[in-house]
């Protein structure tokens, strides 16, 4: 089976290579007409590609090719066409001097193959082909409509920078570069996707990122052979360690500051063209509970909020199950007075508690999903209708008990305290099997479910790093930024992933203590 699979892969690879070779790995001809013929053939039926032929100083034939809407037409007019066409003194047919003297364009790249031409065209750069030249020139005049830098909506902070990544890879790299000025910030570029040819930037800091991690990452990326990459999710799914796991093994972020702090911890960041989401690897379970602003606020407050998140994560996972287990199996745990009111409110409910809980939870999940998809104007109305009207009406109609509505509401709120959406989702999902276990075995079932999740989590790894580091395996040093958020002057070491690493990230003993020294 496996052998067969390998063969098939090889076969495919051959196909792809032929496809590449045949078409456009050829060098440019020196004859302009031939070049044009080739390009026309490649861009047959592409109405958005413009071929503009002109004469340089009325003598030499030249061709300007660009894609509509991706090139800056005004600049082309004033900086390319005008100087070239109006140049009466032009005599020497020397492309090099022509470009040096006349073209007032900052970025000019030499092109020697059709492949390069296509690549430049697809980015939006116009290309200039001259007669009797075996080279073309790509002019850095690409300009297309892009979204301006906005505040990332998925990861809001109270305190911290408000800029987020955009869909344009250049903007994103510039955001990183603006934060890390050191030339040790490396950004390797590669292209993935047979048709989309998406740019992917592998960013890391030299000496901080582990060599083997880099190798592993490059190797995994190079294995990808797919039609197109539309979003970081494509990459994520193709490079993660364990496919059959609901838990995210790669961190995604829209925030440059999160990306930078990960870079500084020795992680690797992948920026993918066409999406504002960058991937960060390796990641651990507990890193997913950290919000960017944890390090911006006072450490005591951050520690408290972090624990609040852990607590509410548990609530969001367990509360409905606990309710079901207690009300159907362990009534003795409830204080008498509370039990009596619970019983009074449940008396008219026709369903078993498990069905009641499932019903409400599924409705709530549906409501949440609907809230995401609904147009903004209707969204608010629906959530109010859903929350208030359905809840109250269900209680009045005797379908569910008051307590159940409360449980569902708290669970719903709790699931939003997890700062990462891609972690909140599996937790929400796992709630249901645990609810079934609770309905069948009570607390024993819940415990079994929890242990199963824990077992699964301990088998996971993200790029070789155990998913539950630093709790299991225990790494005492790294707990200072997991269980608590230690004060900044205590966070002297980087988290350790695998192998050797650059341990210290700051000078020791920086606790502000103004009695120690200072003025005189």
């Amino acid at each position: 089976m496996r052998v067969f699979y390998r063969k098939r892969v090889k076969l495919k690879k051959n196909n792809r290579d032929q496809h590449n070779d045949a078409q456009h790995l050829k060098p440019l001809y020196s004859d302009l007409e031939q070049n044009l013929e080739m390009l026309h053939m490649l861009y047959d039926d592409c109405s958005d590609v413009v071929f503009r032929s002109f004469l340089i100083a009325g003598k030499t034939k030249a061709q300007l090719i660009y894609i509509k809407g991706m090139a800056n037409i005004e600049e082309m007019d004033s900086n390319v066409l005008t100087p070239l066409m109006n140049n009466a003194e032009y005599s020497a047919i020397n492309a090099k001097s022509l470009i040096e003297q006349k073209l007032s364009v900052a970025e000019v790249t030499k092109l020697e193959s059709f492949n390069a031409c296509i690549e430049q065209l697809s980015i939006g750069n116009p290309i200039l082909l001259l007669e009797n030249e075996q080279q073309g020139y790509a002019l850095g005049l690409a300009k297309w409509e892009k979204r301006s830098i906005e505040e990332p909506t998925g990861e809001l902070v109270v305190r911290g920078p408000r800029e987020g990544f955009t869909e344009t890879v250049e903007v994103n790299t510039s955001l990183l570069r603006r934060k890390i000025r050191s030339p040790q910030l490396k950004m390797k570029s590669l292209k993935l996707g047979r048709y989309t040819q998406t740019t992917i930037i592998l960013a890391y800091i030299e000496d901080l990122a582990n060599e083997t991690l880099l190798e592993e990452m490059t190797q995994r990326l190079s294995r990808i052979d797919i039609d197109g990459i539309l979003e970081s999710g494509y990459i994520e799914e193709l490079i993660q360690d364990h496919s059959y796991s609901p838990f995210p093994q790669v961190l995604i972020t829209e925030r440059p500051d999160t990306a930078v702090s990960s870079l500084l911890e020795g992680r690797v960041v992948l920026i993918i063209d066409g999406t504002p989401f960058a991937l960060i690897a390796p990641t651990t379970f507990f890193a997913l509970f950290q919000s960017a602003e944890d390090h911006y606020h006072n450490f005591m407050i951050s520690t408290a909020t972090r624990w609040l998140r852990y607590l509410f994560c548990l609530i969001s996972l367990l509360l409905p199950s606990l309710y079901v287990a207690i009300i159907t199996y362990h009534q003795e745990m409830v204080p008498t007075t509370l039990l009596l009111t619970m019983i009074d409110s449940r008396e008219v409910v026709p369903f078993p508690a498990l069905i009641e809980a499932l019903l409400m939870e599924i409705t709530f999940e549906g409501l949440r999903e609907a809230g995401l998809r609904l147009p903004k104007q209707v969204g608010a109305a629906v959530s109010i209708v859903g929350a208030l009207v359905i809840g109250q009406a269900a209680v009045d109609a005797g379908l569910v008990s008051d307590h159940m509505v409360m449980v569902v509401a708290i669970t719903g709120i709790a699931s939003f305290t997890v700062p990462r959406y891609n972690l909140a989702i599996p937790i929400r999902m796992l709630r249901f099997p645990i609810m079934l276990l609770a309905g069948t075995f009570g607390l024993v079932g819940i415990m079994t479910g929890l242990l199963a999740i824990m077992t699964h989590l301990s088998t996971l790894r993200s790029f070789g790093v155990p998913y539950l580091t630093p709790i299991a395996p225990m790494k005492g040093k790294d707990m200072k930024d997991t269980l608590i958020r230690a004060p900044l002057w205590k966070l002297n070491t980087r988290p350790h992933f695998t192998g050797d690493y650059n341990e210290y990230r700051q000078a020791a003993d920086q606790k502000p203590d103004f009695d120690k020294g200072g003025e005189e």
Binding site: Y244, I327, T328, Y329, Q331, E332, T336, L339, L340, M342, I343, D344, S345, R346, E347, V348, V349, P352, A353, L354, P433, L436, L437, G439, T440, G442
Partner: protein, 385 residues
């Protein structure tokens, strides 16, 4: 992977198709809040349970309206049998729902029942996984069923009244666990609070009255042999170091009225001593009080007066303890004051000999008192009114 999916699927199927063996929906439960045990004339055990009746049926808003009024929402059901378990089965037949014992926090046993012995039936409550070890146990003066059938106006049910009474700790508070411990103790005696109905006020329905604790029952080897009144009960509480709340009213010798004091803190230490064949016990008491009423013309700010008051207080307590001891040692011959355990702890070797005829020996224990009373504050107004 396919295999693990199959395993998951099978597990789910097993769970969903066969599952929920032990599920008990609240709609199918009868919550027992109180239990009464009686003996019928034929010698059968009569088990009466107080069950919370869920008032949720139908009209909810109406229910919310008068929930503050302390509306009684309990029903009673009785079963009979040769043993408690047998009676329970009889009860089960009469109930449409499954019984939940875990919230039965008040257990009332009738005097007649207690006189024949409670040890055997107590076994049920200990063995059954549901009843709480913290359930309070009471002995009723008359029929236990009558106590639990009362419909109090302040609380939701009569068992709640009993629980609150026990928790106030004015007199004895004995939980199931305490009773077990007492039954297993060296002396084999136990003491339980006794409840009685307060007389009916005019114009009220027969059941609209409350129960209250006024005496304590004394049991020997699980059988009730007598009872002591509230004053003596407090004395016993002093010995057992269980005094929590007590108002002591004294009349100092030279004063023209009474002064009442409230106990803030009382601590008793029993110091046993075996001197050859003689048994001695020193009762050391430290108490801190607070004046709450002063009928005399004394100015309690005067140190001299305060010391006289303290002396009077100590004397009063000593008097009360002596009275208690008189009854307990001579009349009941029941060591409900916990001397046996003290002797065992201090003289484990010698105790083995004494244990056999402790009932006789207990009466011969010479008790000396060492009472230290302190009046901490004299209330807000210090001068006589």
């Amino acid at each position: 992977m396919k295999r693990s999916i199959a395993i998951c699927f099978i597990c789910m199927a097993i769970m969903l198709l066969t599952g929920c063996w032990d599920r008990r929906e609240t709609n199918d439960l009868a919550i027992i809040t109180g239990v009464a045990l009686d003996k019928t004339e034929e010698g059968l055990i009569e088990l009466t349970v107080e069950i919370h009746s869920p008032g949720g049926s139908g009209n909810r808003s109406e229910m919310g309206g008068d929930s503050g009024g302390g509306k009684n929402k309990t029903i009673l059901q009785t079963g009979k049998g040769v043993s408690l378990a047998d009676a329970m089965e009889d009860l089960d037949e009469k109930l449409s729902r499954q019984m939940l014992w875990s919230h039965a926090e008040a257990i009332v046993i009738s005097k007649a029942f207690a006189e024949t012995g409670i040890r055997d039936e107590l076994d049920f409550f200990v063995r059954h996984p549901e009843p709480r070890l913290r359930s309070y146990i009471f002995i009723s003066d008359g029929k236990a069923k009558e106590i639990i059938a009362l419909r109090p106006s302040l609380e939701r049910s009569s068992s709640e009244v009993l629980i609150k009474l026990a928790e106030s700790e004015v007199l004895m508070k004995v939980t199931l666990f305490d009773l077990m411990e007492m039954l297993k103790g060296e002396s084999g005696t136990s003491v339980l609070p006794m409840v009685a109905k307060s007389p009916r006020e005019q114009g009220k329905a027969v059941l609209e009255t409350v129960s209250y604790i006024n005496r304590s029952a004394v049991l020997k080897q699980g059988k009730m042999i007598g009872s002591i009144n509230d004053q003596l009960t407090r004395g016993v509480l002093w010995f057992r170091n269980e005094i929590k709340e007590s108002i002591v009213t004294v009349k100092p010798e030279e004063a023209d009225g009474y002064i009442s004091m409230d106990i803030l803190k009382g601590r008793t230490v029993l110091i046993p001593e075996m001197d050859g064949h003689r048994l001695k016990m020193t009762v050391k008491i430290e108490m801190i009080d607070d004046v709450i009423q002063n009928q005399t013309d004394w100015n309690l700010k005067e140190l001299e007066k305060l010391q006289m008051l303290e002396a009077a207080l100590a004397q009063k307590i000593e008097q009360r303890l002596t009275d208690t001891l008189e009854i307990v040692q001579k009349e009941l011959k029941a060591d409900i004051v916990g001397f046996a355990d003290e002797f065992r702890r201090k003289y484990p070797e010698k105790w083995k000999k004494e244990k056999a005829d402790w009932e006789e020996r207990f009466a011969t224990v010479e008790v000396t008192f060492d009472i230290e009373a302190e009046v901490l504050r004299t209330g807000r107004g210090s001068a006589p009114q």
